[in-house]
C-alpha cells in the first residue's frame, strides 16, 4: 500500500515540477475551445449545442498529448526495470501511475471546464453536466491511453503510431460522454442511460487498462 502511495506521490510531484504535461494539456484544451467559435462562426445557439462535443474532444486530444511518455520516461531512466522487479504487482503499479497521471493532467481539465463553458456559451446546468461526464469519463481515457503508453515501451515507438492504436479504443467513451451531456442539456433522452454506460466504460477500463499495460510491459522489456 505505502509502495503505491509513494509511486503516486512521486509521479504527481514530477508532473507538477516538470509541468510540460499537465500544463500543455490544459493549454491545448483551451486552444481547442477558443478555436471553435472561429470555425463555426458566431452562431451562439450552435456553439452551445456543440459545446459538450468540443470540450470532450479537447479532453480526449489533451490526454493523448500527455500520455505517451507515461512509461517511456521511466523506461529510459531505468526506473521501469526496478518497478517490474519490485514486490508490488505490476498491474497495481500501472494503475497507480495512471491514477497519478489522471490527478495531474485530467483533474485540471475538469476544473477548467466552467471557465471554458463560459466561452462556449453553456449555461450553468450544461456546464455542470459536462463537468460531471468529464469526471466520470476521463479516467476511461487515461486508462485506455495507458495501454498505448505501455505499447510505446514494447515497440520503442511513439508519436502517431500510438495515437492510431489507441484512438479507436477511446471512441466509445467519447460517444457516450457527449451523448450524456447532450441529454442533460437538450433532452429528449434521459441523462442517466448514457451516463451509466459511461461509468461502466470507465470501470471496465479501470480493470482492463492495468492488465493490458502490465502484460505489455512484462512481455516487452529487454
Amino acid at each position: 500500500m505505502s509502495a503505491l502511495a509513494a509511486l503516486i506521490r512521486r509521479d504527481i510531484k514530477i508532473a507538477l515540477r516538470v509541468g510540460g504535461g499537465a500544463l500543455i494539456g490544459v493549454l491545448f484544451f483551451l486552444t481547442v475551445t477558443v478555436l471553435m467559435p472561429f470555425a463555426v462562426g458566431p452562431d451562439l445557439a450552435l456553439l452551445s449545442r456543440l459545446g459538450p462535443a468540443i470540450l470532450w474532444l479537447g479532453a480526449l486530444l489533451a490526454s493523448l498529448l500527455t500520455l505517451d511518455r507515461l512509461f517511456t520516461a521511466d523506461h529510459e531512466d531505468g526506473s521501469l526495470d526496478l518497478i517490474v522487479m519490485s514486490r508490488t504487482p505490476l498491474e497495481l503499479a500501472c494503475a497507480a501511475k495512471a491514477l497519478a497521471h489522471w490527478i495531474a493532467a485530467g483533474l485540471p481539465l475538469i476544473v477548467a471546464t466552467p471557465v471554458l463553458g463560459l466561452l462556449l456559451n453553456l449555461d450553468g446546468t450544461a456546464t455542470l453536466a459536462v463537468a460531471a461526464t468529464l469526471l466520470a469519463g476521463t479516467p476511461a481515457l487515461t486508462f485506455t491511453g495507458m495501454i498505448g503508453a505501455a505499447l510505446a515501451v514494447t515497440l520503442h515507438r511513439g508519436g502517431l503510431l500510438l495515437a492510431v492504436l489507441v484512438l479507436p479504443l477511446s471512441i466509445p467513451v467519447l460517444i457516450f460522454g457527449v451523448a450524456a451531456s447532450q441529454a442533460a442539456i437538450s433532452g429528449p433522452l434521459p441523462f442517466g442511460t448514457p451516463f451509466s454506460i459511461l461509468c461502466a466504460l470507465s470501470l471496465a477500463s479501470l480493470v482492463i487498462g492495468p492488465f493490458a499495460a502490465a502484460a505489455s510491459l512484462r512481455h516487452g522489456l529487454d
Binding site: 509513494a6 517490474v84 514486490r87
Partner: protein, 200 residues
C-alpha cells in the same frame, strides 16, 4: 542461500547471445562475470533479474524467502540510474526506499555512507556521473535485499569511491548476501570468476 542457473540460453533481437550457461553462487559469495564487449554479461544479469525471459534453462534461488521470487529478493544496479532529475537526491532515495519496501535503513545514513549527505537537497539533475552512481549505491543500502545484481558497478566512481564500494560489498557478503557482478575491472573483493566467451 544458493542461486543457480542451469543451461541458460538467451536470444535477443532474434540472435542468440549465449546458450548452455551454468552458474551457481552461494551465501557470502561473489560471482564476477567477465568477458569481452557484447559477450552477454548484461543480458545474463537481466535474465537473472527477471527482466529478460530466457529462451531455455532454469534459474533457482534456494534458501531465500520461499514466498518471493528471485527478482523480488534482488537489487539490480544497471547502466541506467533510475533517478528522476526533477526530484532532489533525498526524494529520489526515499521514493525507492518506500516503493521497494521490505526491511529498510535510514535514508540519511545511507546517503552519508556513500558520501552524498551534503548534496541531499540538490536536484538529481545537478549530480555528476560518479555522484549519480553513488546515489544508486545508496539505494542498495537503503533496502535490504540478499541478492545484488550489479552491472559494471564501479564505472564512473573515483578511486575512493571504488574502495568504499568494495567495503560495502564485503559487508553485504559478510551479512549473508550474495553478489553477481558484471565487470571489466577488478572489483576489489574476492570473487569467483564466470568468464563469458563471445564476440566484439
Amino acid at each position: 542461500m544458493r542461486l543457480s542457473g542451469r543451461n541458460l540460453k538467451c536470444v535477443r533481437g532474434g540472435r542468440e547471445v549465449f546458450s548452455g550457461l551454468d552458474l551457481a553462487a552461494t551465501e557470502g559469495e561473489a560471482l564476477a562475470v567477465t568477458g569481452p564487449n557484447g559477450a552477454g554479461k548484461t543480458s545474463l544479469l537481466r535474465v537473472l533479474a527477471g527482466l529478460l525471459v530466457p529462451a531455455d534453462g532454469t534459474i533457482a534461488l534456494e534458501g531465500g524467502d520461499a514466498e518471493l521470487s528471485l527478482p523480488e529478493q534482488a537489487h539490480y544496479l544497471g547502466h541506467r540510474d533510475a533517478l528522476k532529475p526533477a526530484l532532489s537526491v533525498a526524494e529520489n532515495l526515499s521514493f525507492w526506499r518506500e516503493f521497494l519496501g521490505g526491511k529498510t535503513e535510514d535514508a540519511g545514513r545511507c546517503l552519508a555512507a556513500v558520501g552524498l549527505d551534503h548534496a541531499a537537497h540538490l536536484p538529481a539533475a545537478y549530480l555528476s556521473a560518479g555522484q549519480r552512481r553513488r546515489l544508486s549505491i545508496a539505494r542498495l543500502l537503503s533496502v535490504r535485499r540478499p541478492v545484488w545484481l550489479l552491472d559494471e558497478p564501479t564505472s564512473a566512481l573515483d578511486t575512493a569511491g571504488q574502495a568504499l564500494f568494495a567495503a560495502l560489498m564485503r559487508d553485504h557478503l559478510a551479512s549473508g548476501g550474495l553478489i553477481v557482478a558484471a565487470t571489466h575491472l577488478p572489483l576489489g573483493i574476492d570473487a569467483r570468476d564466470l568468464r563469458m566467451g563471445g564476440a566484439a
